[in-house]
């Protein structure tokens, strides 16, 4: 086996269309709910003083903030397009368009001095999904192509054979997730050395974050404030954080490793929420980790399948 074929087997593995479709549904639904829930903060940036404008990402193309009506219209369009994205409707157009708009909107929100690291992974995942054939199953597009058959196969049944054209996107989604956690671990070692593992830096961060929130009149974590005096708690927490971040590539070893890692990182985010009152909604929802799992098998369970079919029946049909 040559190196190139080994790379190809790793990066272009066969995977079922339904798995990628399920990831699209989950990420699209999450994005829609997130955008609606955070509509206020997303819209409010349009009224910030222009002197605060500090563009990042694609927004760096702008020399000045957008006029407020245009900024609001782009946000509204993003919210509207989240629906056909999640449903897999006209996906060849909607997929890339929504992905780029979500990237724009989250970048625009981070272009006023505060970078919302809680949104990076969602934007990157949707970007990959938007340019992948993620609507070949579990979508209105698939439903149109493959109506319900006399043999009982439901409308929109997935292409039977797993294929690399679905596998690459799932692999890339997993790799991007892993890379973001490894980078966070590397940043700690680079900026503080292995001293980070002794827990004092983490303890100070938890204390600082709660001080800042208390002084700024925001929600803080009573649990984090209560634990700060107990210094012995923080070395194991620091080691666990570093192991989960730097050890993220181990999730590629297999399904069990992925399951253990994903649950570990999810618990890590629950810990961050409890100790610092900082929510990373995308990982906390577990949607960020769905690409690591064969979710299509879960969808094949009779009860889940019945729910999916009932949901499909409620959706508009298009020809």
């Amino acid at each position: 086996m040559t190196l190139l074929s080994a790379i190809d087997r790793f990066f272009y593995p066969p995977a079922p269309a339904a798995r990628l479709g399920a990831v699209r549904v989950a990420a699209g639904a999450f994005a829609l709910i997130y955008l609606l829930a955070r509509a206020g903060p997303f819209l409010s940036v349009a009224s910030y003083a222009p002197r605060l404008f500090d563009p990042v990402g694609p927004v760096a193309l702008l020399e000045a903030p957008l006029p407020a009506p245009l900024a609001h219209a782009l946000f509204a369009l993003t919210v509207v397009l989240a629906v056909p994205f999640a449903l897999g409707f006209k996906y060849r157009v909607v997929g890339p368009l929504f992905a780029l708009l979500l990237l724009w909107e989250t970048s625009y929100r981070s272009s006023w001095g505060m970078k919302f690291h809680t949104e990076n992974l969602l934007a990157l995942h949707v970007l990959l999904l938007g340019f992948a054939p993620a609507a070949d199953a579990l979508s209105l597009d698939a439903q149109r192509r493959t109506p319900a058959s006399a043999s009982g196969a439901p409308a929109g049944a997935a292409p039977a054979e797993p294929h690399g054209r679905y596998g690459w996107a799932l692999r890339a989604l997993c790799l991007v997730t892993i890379v973001t956690y490894v980078l966070a671990g590397l940043a700690k070692i680079r900026n503080s050395g292995w001293d980070w593992a002794d827990g004092e830096i983490l303890r100070t961060h938890i204390a600082y974050d709660n001080v800042r929130k208390l002084e700024l009149g925001s929600w803080h974590s009573p649990l984090g404030a209560a634990l700060v005096p107990h210094a012995w708690l923080f070395p194991p927490l620091a080691w666990t954080s570093l192991l989960l971040e730097l050890g993220a590539p181990l999730a590629l070893l297999g399904r069990t490793a992925a399951r253990i890692w994903a649950l570990g990182v999810w618990a890590f985010h629950v810990g961050v929420l409890l100790l610092m009152a900082i929510a990373f909604p995308y990982p906390l929802s577990f949607v960020a980790f769905v690409p690591f799992f064969p979710v299509e098998r879960w969808l094949e369970r009779p009860r889940v399948r019945a729910v999916v079919q009932r949901a499909q029946a409620l959706l508009p049909r298009w020809k």
Partner: protein, 147 residues
């Protein structure tokens, strides 16, 4: 999608996501980031905020939206950047907050606002007491014109 395009999009996104690791001296950005949060030693950080003052000179906590934004952390960054930028940014922010407070019926008791930076020992804050180690008032603006 063809295989080569899959590689371009998929591996390209992965490599781009990893790329900040190779340029650690570049400022953090979005969506490509080094994820520097919580990575540096904090020691005794300075908190920048705006507070109201009542007729007796007692501090009144102002909601984030009155200062700059609904987002508390965004507001904190706005205040820090204004203070670090110096004049005229300090005076502009102070005057803006004073105008918003003057229009807020819930804050009728506020007579002045001030931009403040305070240095805390964060661990000591929770183990000994909440008093800052030092506090600097950068600008005070009257709210009372309309009251």
């Amino acid at each position: 999608m063809s295989r080569w395009l899959a590689y371009v999009v998929g591996l390209g996104t992965v490599v781009a996501t990893a790329s900040p690791a190779f340029f650690p001296d570049q400022p953090d950005s979005y969506p490509l980031s080094t994820y520097p949060m919580f990575s540096r030693p904090r020691d005794k950080p300075t908190v920048f905020f705006v507070e109201g003052l009542d007729a007796a000179g007692e501090g009144v906590r102002l909601p984030s939206a009155l200062v700059a934004s609904q987002e508390v952390m965004q507001t904190a960054v706005t205040v820090r950047r204004a203070i670090q930028a110096g004049e005229p940014a300090i005076s502009e922010l102070c005057a803006e907050v004073a105008r918003r407070v003057a229009a807020s019926r819930e804050h009728a008791q506020v007579r002045a606002v001030r931009l403040v930076s305070a240095r805390f020992d964060p661990v000591r804050y929770f183990t000994v007491g909440r008093a800052p180690e030092s506090l600097t008032e950068h600008r005070r603006c009257s709210v009372g014109g309309e009251r």
